[in-house]
Amino acid sequence: MIWVNTVVQGLMLGGLYALFATGLSLVFGIMRLVNLAHGDLIVFAAFAILVIVEVLGLDPFVSALLAAPLLFAAGWALQRLVLNRVLGRDILPPLLVTFGLSVALQNGMLEVFSADSRRIRSGALESASVALGPVTLGMLPLLTFASAVAAIFLLNRIFYATALGRAFRATSDDPVTASLMGINPRSVFAIATGLAMVTVTLAALYLGMRANFDPSIGPARLIYAFEAVIIGGLGSLWGTLAGGIIIGLAQTAGAAVNPEWQILAGHLAFLVVLLVRPRGLFPRAFD
């Protein structure tokens, strides 16, 4: 029954990757912007939570709740002050700006927090587990997966059942016409990036509690997130969850065969999907 365990662990890991990917998917869906600093922003958020935990001595979940509005503001400001200036027909400027941001952020964190591995301590939660038939599930992975599902459910509600979501979808489809209807695309973009940073905070909370992290691990998280988005199909948040699960399953299966193959197996799964379904598994009808 080892394989059942492997599958379940892969599923749970997929939840974490889906959380990494949600913000990326959201921003791309609305403004066709790929933020190459996304992974470094996740690590940055993890350090922000860690600082709050250590300085104020608060529970990690409460700390994440405190960090979320700060990171929303940071995302909002980033979009307003920097990214809005480079968005346009040419994809080169936003790519290069976010690449510069990635390099700057990574090295800034290296100076401030050093290269040491850190972890957000969560006390009893670290070792808590529940037995589900033949497999024993860690409480933390289970919570991660549940949070991913909840986050995607909530974002979909925002998208399809609120005025803000209508503005998101309208701007995504046609910014010019949307602005004729009294929507300011730049403000919409700023709110979207802020919201993406809230999902980044959630991802960072679980990243930091689940394992050690240091300033250099951002780019790899960006790559997993990106693979999940592409596998799922552009613009579909549930697709992103499926994509994250596929990467998680492939990595766990690869690691079960040979620990050195974990990461490689995830990448290969991505390439296979790209080969068979270049537009991903669940592409939105219009894109």
């Binding site: 791309f28 066709r32 912007l33 790929v34 190459l36 920097v82 200036r85 480079v86 994809i91 080169l92 400027p93 936003p94 790519l95 290069l96 700006v97 690449f99 510069g100 941001l101 990635s102 390099v103 700057a104 952020l105 990574q106 090295n107 800034g108 290296l110 100076e111 780019p219 790899a220 960006l222 790559i223 990106f226 693979e227 592409i230 050195e260 990461i263 490689l264 990448h267 290969l268 991505f270 390439l271 790209l274 080969l275 270049p278």
Partner: protein, 351 residues
């Protein structure tokens, strides 16, 4: 009163003569320059080569790759394989690096071209990671920890003994001189080759695709074939440069040879600060980068952070880089590629 289309300008001719003079000076340099200077110039020339190829991809082909380290790494490893597994001399084994780059580029392009724009960029990064992780499984070349060129391969390297006698220097210094000359030849061939390419009808087609893909297709330009052409050329050249860099380093590991910072971030910085989409840009950019590197590299992460911020500032306030600023002020084009109509009695200036 025949009219003809020309790209030649007086500044261009002067720059050509100056370039030849610089090349001659560069060839003679080991006779009177110290070893440290030769090593610095080797670094500048190889970075210039990498930057020119990245600029060809991104600035002319519209293909923003953040995975060029794949070709540096595979080129370097192919050279090592030629030396260690097949017993080749390192100098001809550099060619293996170019061929390996080419061989990797075919499947890589086949995958990456399925994705557009920004997603293409990250796909190239994924492919570089796949290549790195696969090479790390290659136990004959040291696996994840890497390996060194065998002592006898580096000491018996072609031409080294002759260079040693010519300049009466030790073997290690002679190896540096050889690597420097090869880098000079590669950089000159790269700049000259890309310039020649841009002056052909392929170059014109490239500029047309970059400026407006749909319009270019409408007049019969095969945009997909051009993308392949540019991607394969860049892969071949980047593979050669990677192999050459590691002939000089003589020690390799997957993490170093596939480093995104060393082979892509620095290269992008050089092109962006110098001016993307021009041949002059990367040349100016590599000089600025080298100056910054010499002055501030001791500050480690602060320095890298500043590089990232400078890159952002350039994209925000001077997206065409330093050379763009200079060209706007002076109208100077050292490597003119723009077609102008020249008639018998009047010259029409046009962009």
């Amino acid at each position: 009163m025949g009219a003809r289309v020309t790209v030649a300008t007086r500044a261009g001719r002067a720059a050509g003569i100056a370039a030849l003079a610089l090349l001659a000076l560069g060839l003679a340099l080991p006779a009177f320059a110290g070893r440290a200077m030769i090593q610095d110039l080797f670094f500048i020339l190889t970075m210039l080569t990498l930057a020119q190829f990245w600029n060809l991809l991104a600035g002319y082909g519209g293909l923003v790759s953040v995975g060029q380290q794949a070709f540096v790494g595979i080129g370097a490893y192919a050279m090592f394989a030629g030396v260690i597994l097949a017993g080749w001399d390192p100098v001809p084994a550099i060619l293996l690096g170019g061929l390996a780059g080419l061989a990797l580029a075919v499947p890589a392009a086949w995958f990456a071209f399925r994705l557009q724009g920004a997603y293409f960029a990250i796909a190239t990064w994924v492919l570089a990671e796949v290549t790195r992780l696969s090479v790390a499984q290659w136990k004959a070349l040291g696996g994840g920890t890497g390996t060194s060129l065998p002592r006898e391969a580096t000491s018996d390297m072609a031409f080294v003994a002759a260079i040693g006698r010519l300049f009466s220097v030790r073997e290690a210094a002679a190896r540096d001189i050889l690597a420097y000359w090869l880098a000079l030849a590669l950089a000159a061939a790269t700049v000259g080759g890309i310039y020649a390419l841009l002056r052909t009808r392929h170059g014109l087609a490239l500029a047309a695709v970059r400026d407006n893909t749909e319009a270019a297709k409408a007049v019969g330009v095969d945009a997909v074939r051009l993308k392949w052409l540019v991607y394969l050329i860049a892969a071949f050249g980047t593979g050669l440069a990677g192999a050459l860099v590691y002939v000089q380093k003589a020690r390799i590991s997957p993490d170093a040879a596939f480093s995104v910072t060393d082979w892509t971030a620095y290269v992008i910085f050089i092109v962006v600060i110098g001016g993307i989409g021009t041949i002059e840009g990367p040349i100016l950019g590599v000089l600025v980068f080298f100056a910054l590197q010499s002055a501030f590299a001791d500050y480690g992460s602060w320095y890298l952070m500043a590089l990232g911020l400078i890159g952002i500032a350039i994209m925000l306030f001077a997206p065409r880089g330093l050379w763009g600023l200079i060209a706007d002020r002076t109208g100077l084009h050292l490597f003119p590629v723009r077609r102008r109509l020249e008639t018998g009695h009047a010259t029409t200036r046009g962009d």
